[in-house]
């Protein structure tokens, strides 16, 4: 590949972040414009890459250079269908986050440079094919997110930010031990070369355990999820969108890219345990969401429940299940992104996130009310919208796999519980007569609607024509399963 497209996609925002930071708060307006252009250019590059992406070509746009030969570390970027879906999601959500937070007053230069730095980490994780490079981007994401939450967050932002950082760091250091153990066994840090390395099962089991800790914290899987509600409630809107939209997917992506292909026997052994945890996460997340009084916390717990489906799909290790997992990852990013944007917009107007204090949006602000209802229905998995695709395929895949039937039925009940808490939210917030906080607020501005429109469009496109997404993910999933020896 002559033109290092992937390197540009990953590191362009880094350049952007530096420029915006140097421009400083004095010239914040210019900084904002630079940030927006950089993000849009990055999205354009991803789109251009997608257009030239050969669906059945496996790993493409490969860039491989020796980085630290003494220790066997290579600078290896590559992209396949699954990574492309995630990079596209990350690039799109960053552009929308920048546009949505166009009017931040507090320290805008730092705000926009942090967003761009976050994008570097996010894009990097999904295209890094060398463990150390993967780990560098994995940790790099923590720093900007810590500052986004700690500086612009809500009342308990310090606690939430540090908790977020330490939680993920704790998981990731064990992942590091796993990476080193793999290096010692296979002599290289390169993920692709390790796939199908046929390591002995006992060793695989321990390395899988180390990776599980690192990834499960990020997904999050019950009981390692308690950082998520705090982080979401305290994080500013744009940070919540990126946190829910992309950061959670790094965990499940890790399972798909690393744990499954490299440790197939251990994955088979662990699959029932993961399926059990997934089912519990689904039902537990849905039940706790049902009892929440704060809109953002409700959406946060709904993320726990949705990511449960991802883990169910992964645990099934069938083509349908894995495609379902990636579909939920993508659609959850889009739908929950919409939900968080809308909750943020409502919060900007009513200055409260308490469900009890907000009602009758549809009559006072029909556009916001309508979109919130639309996002809620997408989130509860209404067929025809993207939420349904992933969850349905995960269930179908889980049924066809050797996961005990009980867990699959429990997960299916999760779909009903999702309908319960989502409708209960719509019932109290969107419908009914306008409450004191709601009466008199203005409807969404053109900019805000512009932020939401692409997400609405994506929900419908993926919802109706599944192959718009699965065309990319299915070949990638098939190659992962092939690497696992069709386990």
């Amino acid at each position: 590949m002559d033109f290092p497209l992937l390197t540009v996609i990953v590191f362009l925002p880094l350049l952007g972040a530096a420029v915006v930071a140097l421009l400083g708060n004095a010239r914040a307006v210019a900084g904002r414009v630079v940030a927006a252009t950089v993000a849009v250019v990055d999205l354009a590059l991803v789109a251009w890459l997608a257009s030239r992406f050969d669906v059945d070509g496996g790993m493409q746009f490969v860039e491989k250079l020796t980085w630290v030969p003494q220790v066997g570390i290579t600078y290896h970027l590559a992209i396949d269908g699954m990574s492309l879906a995630m990079v596209a999601l990350s690039a799109l959500l960053t552009v929308l986050a920048i546009v949505a937070s166009w009017k931040t007053e507090k320290n805008p230069a730092l705000w926009f440079s942090m967003l761009l730095l976050l994008e570097v980490g996010m894009n990097g994780v999904f295209v890094a094919m060398d463990f150390v490079l993967f780990y560098v981007f994995w940790e790099l994401v923590l720093v900007p997110m810590y500052f986004l939450i700690a500086t612009w967050g809500g009342p308990r932002r310090q606690y939430a930010a540090v908790k977020f950082f330490l939680y993920t760091l704790f998981g990731s250091v064990f992942m590091l031990v796993g990476i080193i153990a793999l290096y010692l066994q296979t002599g290289t840090f390169n993920i692709l070369e390790m796939a199908g390395a046929g390591l002995d099962p006992k060793f695989q089991w321990w390395v899988f355990a180390a990776f599980f800790l690192g990834f499960a914290v990020k997904v999050p899987v019950f009981p390692l999820h308690t950082w998520l509600p705090d982080a979401h409630v305290e994080a500013p809107t744009a940070a919540s969108v990126l946190l829910a939209g992309v950061l959670l997917k790094m965990g499940s992506y890790g399972f798909l890219r690393i744990s499954l292909p490299i440790l197939p026997d251990a994955a088979a052994e662990w699959s029932t345990f993961i399926a059990a945890l997934a089912a519990i996460s689904i039902v537990y997340g849905a039940a706790v969401a049902f009892a929440q009084t704060d809109m953002k916390k409700l959406v946060a717990y709904s993320s726990v429940s949705h990511m449960g489906f991802v883990m169910l799909g992964i645990a099934s290790m069938t083509p349908e299940g894995l495609n379902g997992a990636v579909a939920v990852m993508f659609s959850h990013g889009v739908v929950t992104g919409m939900l968080f944007f809308l909750v943020g917009m409502v919060y900007d107007r009513t200055h409260t996130r308490m469900i009890a204090e907000v009602s009758g949006l549809s009559s006072q602000v029909p556009v916001a009310g309508g979109l919130l209802a639309f996002a809620s229905f997408a989130s509860l998995g209404l067929p025809g919208l993207s939420g349904f695709v992933g969850e349905f395929l995960s269930l179908v895949g889980a049924w066809a796999s050797d996961i005990p039937v009980g867990w699959v039925v429990l997960s299916a009940i999760g779909v009903l519980l999702a309908a319960a808490y989502m409708l209960w939210l719509v019932q109290r917030v969107v419908l009914g007569s306008p409450s004191a906080a709601v009466s008199g607020i203005a409807d969404l501005s053109a900019r805000e609607v512009a932020v939401l429109l692409p997400l609405v469009a994506l929900t419908l496109i993926v919802g109706l024509y599944w192959d718009s997404l699965l065309r990319f993910t299915d070949p990638a999933v098939r190659s992962i399963l092939a690497m696992m020896g069709g386990a």
Binding site: L166, P223, H225, T226, Y284, A287, V288, F290, A291, Q292, T318, P319, E320, N323, G360, S362, S363, P366, F377, L382, P383, G384, F388, F392, L393, L395, V396, A398, W399, A400, V408, V409, A412, I413, V415, L416, A419, A420, L423, W424, Q427, L431, G432, S433, L464, Y465, W466, D467, L470, R471, D474, R478
Partner: protein, 631 residues
Amino acid sequence: MDWVTLIPLLPALAFVVLAPLSRAARAKLVPLAVAAVLGSLGLSIAAFLAVWPGGHGEVWQASVTIAHIGDRAITLGLALEPMSAIMLTVVTVVGACVQVYSLGYMHREDRIGWYYAVLSLFTAAMLALVLSDNFLGLFMAWEVMGLCSYLLIGFWHEQEAPRLASIKAFLTTKVGDLGFMLALAVVYAEAGAFDFATVLHHDWTAGTATLVALLMLFAAMGKSAQFPLHVWLPDAMAGPTPASALIHAATMVAAGVFLVVRAFPIFEASGIALTITLWVGLITALLAGLLAMVQHDIKKVLAYSTISQLGFMFIALGAGSSTAALYHLVTHAYFKSLLFLGAGVIIHAAHTQDMRQMGGLAKKLPVTSLAFASGSLALAGIVPFSGFWSKDEILAVLLHEHQYVAFAIALLAAFVTAFYVARLWFRVFTAPTQQEDLHEGHRSMLVPMVVLAVITAVIGFFGPTLGDFLGHEIPWPALGTAAISTVAALGGITLGWYVYGRRTSVVNTQALKQRFPHAYGVLANKYYFDLTYGYFVVGGYTTLARALATFDARVVDGVVNGVAAAWRSLSAAGWTFDGRIVDGAVNGAASAVRAAGDKVRTLQTGSVRSYQTLIAGAVVLLVVWILVKGA
């Protein structure tokens, strides 16, 4: 023949056009929605005629692959064949009547635009369901209809009752939908695809067939409001009456029956599923009928009547004849929607839904009474009207299958049906008038009713032609069964006249209550279903959720924070390996109290001498260890 795709597409386009507009703009574009449904009606009739002459199979089929997964492809498609042709006509006729009728009924409503938008989306979804050539497409249309029913029931969402009714409806049907989703998973695992052709020709073992059949039956029970998932339909009456007419009488609730008809080969392969369906139908038909007897709200009576009639269709299915069920579905769609539209006019006139305040409407509303009479007689099963023929066919099938017990129960249910129809008729139309300014409905409301009344009267005669059109012979009713069912019907009516209709007796609303106080109590409380569900299912779940939430906030989070807090106190304590035993090495356990907190700090006593002793102690330990190791 590709214009068939226009049939569901036209109303869908109407929705897409209407939905994003502002309230005022939508109101102006209402005629567009009506035009769309009329267009679909025209096309449906054309499609019907294209299939009409012979019962030969698929006339037209088109599908699109929406996903490739592994080596399999998932497709969605539409197919025109006899069964869908019939259903097309039913849905579009009733849909058109309802939409025209709503012009008058809803004209004072300022959110009429949104009403028509959702109605169009619903019609599109129902048409898609009917035309769909695979179970996945059927399921997707099924769920979208659930959404429309939620939006329509909760149309007046400012009030509390419609809001609660709508969420109740959606969630109860969603319980059923879980069954459907799992059924799809099993079907995909077994047959590797969703379309009818592959799935139905797959040789099902009895076990898996039963599993799939029961799951689909569970879904059908949810959608068609059969016992025990019937609780949502009576409350759904909180929505606008024309909407109830379309959704909760003719189309959506029939979707459950339609699903079973589509998947009938699987039911037949399983055997047990058929008997269960039969008994579900019997129980629902009888018990719902009894409930209808004690309702005072006219729409509630019709709602329970719908549940009961759907029970009859399940009986037909259980008895092994899907054609009889389909036939009853068609006739029921017409006369029940007619009755609902009639009820709408009555409510408009009497400004109340409570029958106890009505009376003497026959004189004041002549056209409505006539149309309502045609519908009531059909419902009661009196001979020339359509209800008689289809109900008789079901009884005939029961006899033919030697299901004598079932036959008896069905007959009793028919008797009860006739009774509550009579009760309603005499209460509303012939009882002494209690209100003065009763006026006839607007012309746009009466025309659709008349159309439906005519169809209800006439359609009965087309039974046999419908039979050979579908390929299963529907014989003219044997004299014996016809006689028995007419006797039952007339018996119910005379009893109804005796209790409610006689001029002499003052309208005795408490008639049934005194005679059977205890039974009346049970019926009044709708067999305590709502109470049990409300208390156990909803109440239980909310308390569980609240408990889990506190558990999550306090325990799981606490555990994690606890570990962190313990670590902080431990770290302040400074787990140390203190040479001087007297001072006591600090217990390293995480439960070190903060008082012992900064042990490390106190260890740094600042005195050089203590440091030297510590160092010397450490060296001595080292030496001892080496000597011991060496020896």
